[in-house]
Structures are given as structure tokens and as C-alpha cells.
Amino acid sequence: MNAAPRFPVRRKLLAVILAATAAALLVAIGAMVAYDLYLYRQSWINDLRTQADLLGRTSSAALTFDDPAAAQENLDLLRYRPRIRAAVIYDARGRRFASFAAPGAAPLPRLPGPEGVHVAGDHIVVFKRISNEREILGTVYLRADYRLYERLLGYLGIAAVVMGLAMAVAYLLSSRLRETFVRPLLAITAVASEVSERRNFSLRAEKLSEDEIGLLADSFNGMLAEIERMTRHLESSNAELAREVAERRRAEEEVLRLNAELEQRVRERTTQLEYTNAELEAFCYSVSHDLRAPLRSIDGFSQALIEDFPQHVPEEAKGYLARIRSATQRMGQLIEDLLNLSRVSRGELQRRDVDLGQIAQEVVAELRQREPQRKIEVSVWEGLKAHADARLMRAALENLIGNAWKFSSRTAEARIEIGALRDGEHATFFVRDNGAGFDMRYANKLFGAFQRLHGAGEFQGTGIGLATVQRIVHRHGGRIWADAQPGKGAVFYFTLGAPRAAGASELAA
């Protein structure tokens, strides 16, 4: 069957049935023919023997009495048996006594042969001794057409017809029967091909029998069910996945949209801020330039009044003029401090590695130069390194150390300490003094502009310094706080935050 794997099952089945039928028939016919031929031969041999015996018995008298005519008469009767082609009766001496030959028969043997039956070609030859109780009287010779081949041919003809008939019947029968056999298979095949073509896993093969094909259909259906279940599962998880992807995409789009919106707002806001900054700068410029000029006039002409008209200005008026002048100077200082406050908010933050200790030392040196008479112990710790804007840090330290300097001016053994508490990368810097201190209840007001915790008569100041320091610290992303006790001194702590990415634009705090 392997030789013809392409033929459909239907045909293969037919071929199998026909081949089996033919083989069975051939074997049966062969056996029958062989048996029949055997019987045929046996019956012929028996027949010829009997005939020879009969001839011998009927001719024994003729031989005894040497009457060839009688023997001839007996032989002549053989013409009624056309298949006996020749017959000879020999006398005891082996001479032909009487003979018979059908027309066209082969020459007769001259001498009798040994007793017995044998087949010579398509003839059967019998030699039979004729005897009475005492002596051998002669021999009968019979030759008959065996016609084995004829018979064989006849059989073959019959076999062919039978085969033909049998095959036809087998064919008809099998074409009926094989339908019942093949149809379930074909049904499964049809379903299988439809499934594979249309990918429709909901199809089921019809179970048409309870045999192995039925089992096959069951298994096939089971498999389909499993595939269908898995496909459904797969499809549902695919759908789930698609939904999730869509969801995520929507979320991403939303994020992008929000980002764009945010960027737009940042841009607008930046523009606005830049505009505000520019305005602020213009304002500061005006303040710096124009607000000071009238003050200078007030101060200058007050002084001129005293200098140019010493006789005409009474002492009381001179006192008033002195108040006017000190007020203008305070105003000038206020303007200066306000400008400083706005200045620390403007411009890029330029971080680099700075030594706060060194800056502190310089600030202290300036203070000492300004007030050389002050006895004050200042200790600046080593290694106060920071990543910060040097200009702003100087302004901050000027204010903090200046404050410490100022508020410890009435302390007997004034001490200022500048140091840092380190926690890994993060440092908390501090400026400590043992001066006037303040009540922690008012600590929340410390860093507001123009907020003062001490009367002007006590300590001079505009109340802008700590606001400036706070702004500087905040611009660095740090924090500032204080700890104090009235009469015991104050500590100002500040951190400077993490350096921002280089190039990040810095908007005014």
C-alpha cells in the first residue's frame, strides 16, 4: 500500500477486498482443481484397470482357445469408448493376438511391457496380465487419452468465470459495505480539513460507529474541544491584552497631552516670569538710582543748612536736622538691603565647590577691620566645603555672621562659632553665637522681610538680612531654621540641598 499512498482510502479498501477475495478464490479453486485432477486421474486409472481386467476376463477364453476373432470382437466394442485410443491383446508369448486402434492413433507397441499403469505424455497406458488359476494367458494393453490439460483448461475457464463473478459480487458488496466503513472516516476527514481551512474549532465530527473509528471521532472531537477551549482562552487573553494595550496607549496619550499642556504652561509661566523678572530688574534699577537721589538731597541739604548758616540754625533745629539725616541714612540702608534681597533672587545660580570656612574667615576679617575694638572669639571649623554659588553664600554668611557679631556686642565674652554637622553627603552648617538670642515663640517671624525681634534702640538693623539669607538658602534647595534662648545666644542652621543638573535654568525663588 505504501507504493500508492496517494490513492484515497476508498480505493485502497476496494483493492484490499478484491485482492483478498482473489487470493481466497485462487487458493480455493487451486485446491479444488488439484483435488479434482487427482480424483480424475485415480478414477481413470481405476476405470482403465477395470476395463483391462474386463477385457482380460472376456478374452481369456479366446486366448485359451486361440480364437483371435472373439478377442477382436471384444476389442472392437471399445469404439464406444472414444477416449480409449488403442488396445492390444498379446498372447502368452508376447505376440499380438488382437488389436484395436482409433483412427489417427499412435503406433501400437510390438511387445507387452511390464504390468502396471503409467502416464506417458497425454496418455495413460495400462499393461495387464491375463491369467487363469494356473498360468499367464497373455497381456492386455490399453491406451487412453488422458486429456489432463483440456480438463485443466476447462477448470481455468471456470475459475476465470467464477473469479470474475466473485470479484464483481465482492466489488458490489464492498462498495456497499465500505461506505459504512469509510463514511465515518471521511466525515472525520471532512471536518478536519474544514477546521484547518476555516479555523473553525467549533465543528465536530459525527460519530457514525462504535468501533475504532468511532473512538477516533471521539478523540478527534475531544481534541477539537480542547483546541477550541484553548483558542477561546487565547482569544480572550488576546482581547484582554489588546484592551490593556489600548488602555495603556490612551494613558500614554493622556500623559503626553498633559505633558504638552504642562510644557505649554511652563513656557507661558516662564515667559511671564521672565517678563516679571525683567520688570523687577527695571524696578530695582530705578529704585537703586532714583530712590537714593532724593535721600541724598535731603541729607546733603540738611548738612549744607548746618554748615552754611551756623548762626541761624538753633540748637534744637540742629537736633531735628540730625534726626532727618539719620532717618535718610536708615532709608538709604533699607534701600540697599532691599536691593540686596532682590539681587539674590535674580541671575543664574552658579554652583561650584566653595569653601564656606574661607568665606567666613574673610567676612570676619572685614568685621574686625570695621570694629577693631571688639573683643570677640571667632572659631571657624575646617573643611566647610559646599557646592554652592559663592557670591550668594558670601551674602548669606555676611548676614548671619554680621547678625552674630551684632547681637553679641553686649555680651562680655562674645563667641561666634561657624561649623557643620555632617550626615554622609549631607551637611548642616551652623552659625552660633552667645549673644542676645531671642524668644523661640517669635521664631516664625524670623525670616520675614522687615521683621525685627529687637527694638531699633537695642540693635540696629532693617529686618531684611535673614529674609535675604532664607532666600539664598531656598534658591539652593536647602532649609534654614534657628534655635535660640533669650540672653543665651542663637544658632542658625542651614542646608544647601543637592546640586541641580548642570544647565538647568533657575527661576527666581
Binding site: C284, Y285, S288, H289, D290, R292, A293, P294, L295, R296, S297, D299, G300, F301, S302, Q303, A304, R325, T328, Q329, M331, G332, I335, E336, L339
Partner: protein
């Protein structure tokens, strides 16, 4: 040869009066010419407009220049002075209320010889102006006449 003058470029009459007063108090003998805006200052040095026909070979000993001026700003005046061969070498002291770093930087970049802030307090102001007078009129050696551009 007559004493060279001082050119004070100042739009504020109060500041003008105070500066003149401070210079007088510092015993400055030089004439003080006042220009009330940048255009007038340029007219003076280049002998144009109101000052047409002035001998421009005679340039001020020092120009005290305010930055915030009507018409032509102080910085522009400074740049024009430095661009012209006749006034290229005239000492210019920027005398202003502004303490903005940027003003200071631009002034120096434009060729100012000094940058002096007008303090609010009159005593300090007098001190600053008298120091200016002493420095630019007495101590400072001007560019020799032979290097001055011929008229």
C-alpha cells in the same frame, strides 16, 4: 594755558548742586561745566549745538558722568567719547547712584577710568567727590599734550 575745566554731566539739579558744593569744599579751582543730559555733554566736547564754535582742542580735565540721563544715556556718551580720537583719552569717572554689578561692568567695558557710587550720606559723598578732585586734578598725570590730537 588756562586750567582745564571739569565737565559734570548730571540731570538732577540737587545732585548737581551737591556735587558742585562738594567740589568747592574740596577746594577745586577748576571751572565746572554742567551738562544736563547726554546730548548736551556730547555737544560740549565736540563743539556742536549750544557749544558750536568752542575750541575742542581744550577738553575737560575729567568728565564726571551720571549713567541715568535723559536723551542720550551715560553709557552711550561714554562709548561715543571713546570712539572719537579727540576724546578717546579724556578721563571719565562714572558717578552714579547705581550699585548694580552690570552697570559697573558695562561702564568699565566701555572705557570708564573710574566707577564711583554716590553715597546717600552727605559726609561720605563730600569725601568721595573731594577724593575724586584730588586724584584726577592733582595726582593724575594727564596724557602729554604732544599725544593729544592736533585741532
Amino acid at each position: 594755558m588756562a586750567e582745564k575745566c571739569i565737565l559734570l554731566v548730571e540731570d538732577n539739579p540737587d545732585d548737581e548742586a551737591l556735587t558742585t558744593r562738594a567740589l568747592r569744599m574740596a577746594k577745586t579751582a577748576n571751572d565746572i561745566v554742567v551738562a544736563r543730559d547726554g546730548a548736551e555733554a556730547l555737544d560740549y566736547v565736540f563743539g556742536e549745538g549750544r557749544f558750536a564754535g568752542r575750541d575742542v582742542s581744550q577738553q575737560p580735565a575729567v568728565i564726571l558722568l551720571d549713567l541715568k540721563l535723559p536723551k542720550v544715556s551715560g553709557l552711550e556718551v561714554l562709548q561715543r567719547l571713546r570712539a572719537d580720537p579727540r576724546t578717546r583719552l579724556v578721563p571719565v569717572v562714572v558717578l552714579t547712584s547705581s550699585s548694580e554689578d552690570e552697570d559697573m561692568l558695562k561702564s568699565y567695558e566701555s572705557g570708564a577710568n573710574s566707577y564711583v557710587r554716590k553715597p546717600v550720606e552727605f559726609g561720605t559723598f563730600v569725601h568721595a567727590v573731594s577724593q575724586l578732585g584730588v586724584y584726577w586734578l592733582l595726582l593724575n598725570q594727564p596724557v602729554p599734550q604732544r599725544w593729544q590730537p592736533s585741532p
